[in-house]
Amino acid sequence: MISVLVTTGATVTFESLILKLINADLIEQLIALNVDKLYFQYGNEIKGSQHISRNFFVNHLSKSGIVEKFNLEMIGSSKQTGDVEHYKSDIFELITFPYSPHIDDYIDKASVVITHAGTGSIVDALTLRKKLMVVVNDQLMDNHQLEIAQEFSKSNYCLAYEIKDMEGDNNRFVSDLEKLLKDEIRLKKFPNNDGTIIESIIYNELTS
């Protein structure tokens, strides 16, 4: 049982990451690495009555031909549990959702987490001690995701990529994923922070 979780951020649809990962070749490579579950959070960008993220994702999923190629069958879709859709075949499962307030439960189940370089997503995965691959979304205004990703990977807490690192056959991204799964790449543990520092600072300010 090897599960991979992908989180693309909630506010803006990270289109290029969805294109790279919801891709028949990549799914094939995942299956070859014995990954049997892919959890995919694709974004919660809504404009008026349009769910931009879902429209993009669903449209691309059908274009990618994954459902037919891997004989995936939709076994569940529920509005109550946050629009989760569940596709399944004998060897592979794809579970998709726009956004989850309980993302920690998904992170918990994953062997490897692939996420956009938002600080919250990075910290969530690292706090739960997960192997983490971070992909920079360079389409954002006032972009500082690159800096964040570089800083975290410099400290060796995670591996960092730009979309261009995911292009071509035998790219760095897929080979690194394999090494991570086989423990050939070791990442540093993220220090746990219990809030003592901020509590002390507030205490100081209240009493001084």
Partner: protein
């Protein structure tokens, strides 16, 4: 009195209040006061009795800012303080998170929620952002002025609304109407460069905390304890 001394007295009368105002400013400017850097491990549950029940004001921005702030606050035990959550108009996600925090933590002291108009939207053109910031200033000023319990501590992490809120409380402090200590925690997303809010607030914050080393070396008043969220 001859003409000459009349002028002297007039100038004196004008300059004296200005001098007083300057002295007051120097008195309260945090940059001129040394903060206790060596932080011992102090717990808010051990607060002295006369301080228990003081108010902490926590500002929620939107999206990422709220996410970071809630991650920080969720690690704190605020049960001995009353809390005022400030959120921007139209930001229903943030208020939900604050309410959930309040439900999950058993707090004895009352909670207040304060809604203020949004200052600068990300990427808003300069002129229209000046107008919306002004509007935000006036409305926030009135709401803060009418607060019965003024906050003892203001916790900020850099959304646009931080700026008017912090400056209004600083002005109230200048007038002697409150004694709010301003604690700023720069967003983890800022590695090499302060945010605009951070730059504007640097002079008036009592504590200015950054989360990455490059920023710590760049700004003299910044404190750094690593990643806090």
């Amino acid at each position: 009195m001859d003409f000459e001394s009349l002028i002297c007295v007039t100038i004196g009368l004008i300059l004296f209040p200005i001098l007083l105002l300057l002295l007051r400013l120097i008195w309260i400017l945090p940059g001129l006061r040394s903060s206790p850097l060596a932080t011992k491990e102090l717990k808010l549950t051990d607060l002295p009795n006369d301080i228990v029940g003081s108010n902490i004001m926590i500002l929620l921005g939107s999206g990422g800012h709220t996410g970071e702030m809630m991650r920080i606050v969720s690690k704190l035990n605020l049960s001995k303080l009353s809390r005022t959550w400030v959120y921007s108009s139209g930001d229903s996600t943030s208020i939900l998170k604050a309410r959930r925090y309040e439900e999950e933590n058993n707090n004895n002291f009352p909670t207040k929620y304060l809604c203020i108009p949004r200052a600068r939207k990300v990427g808003e053109p300069i002129l229209s952002s000046i107008i919306s910031t002004l509007n935000s200033f006036i409305v926030s000023g009135l709401s803060l002025l009418t607060l019965r319990q003024k906050p003892s501590v203001l916790l900020l992490n850099g959304p646009g609304t931080s700026v008017p809120i912090a400056y209004i409380l600083f002005a109230l402090k200048f007038l002697g109407l409150c004694n709010t200590k301003i604690i700023y925690i720069e967003s983890l997303a800022r590695v090499n460069k302060l945010s605009l809010s951070g730059l504007l607030l640097l002079p008036i914050c009592d504590r200015f905390i950054v989360q990455w080393q490059p920023l710590f070396y760049k700004y003299k008043r910044a404190e750094c304890y690593g990643i806090l969220i």
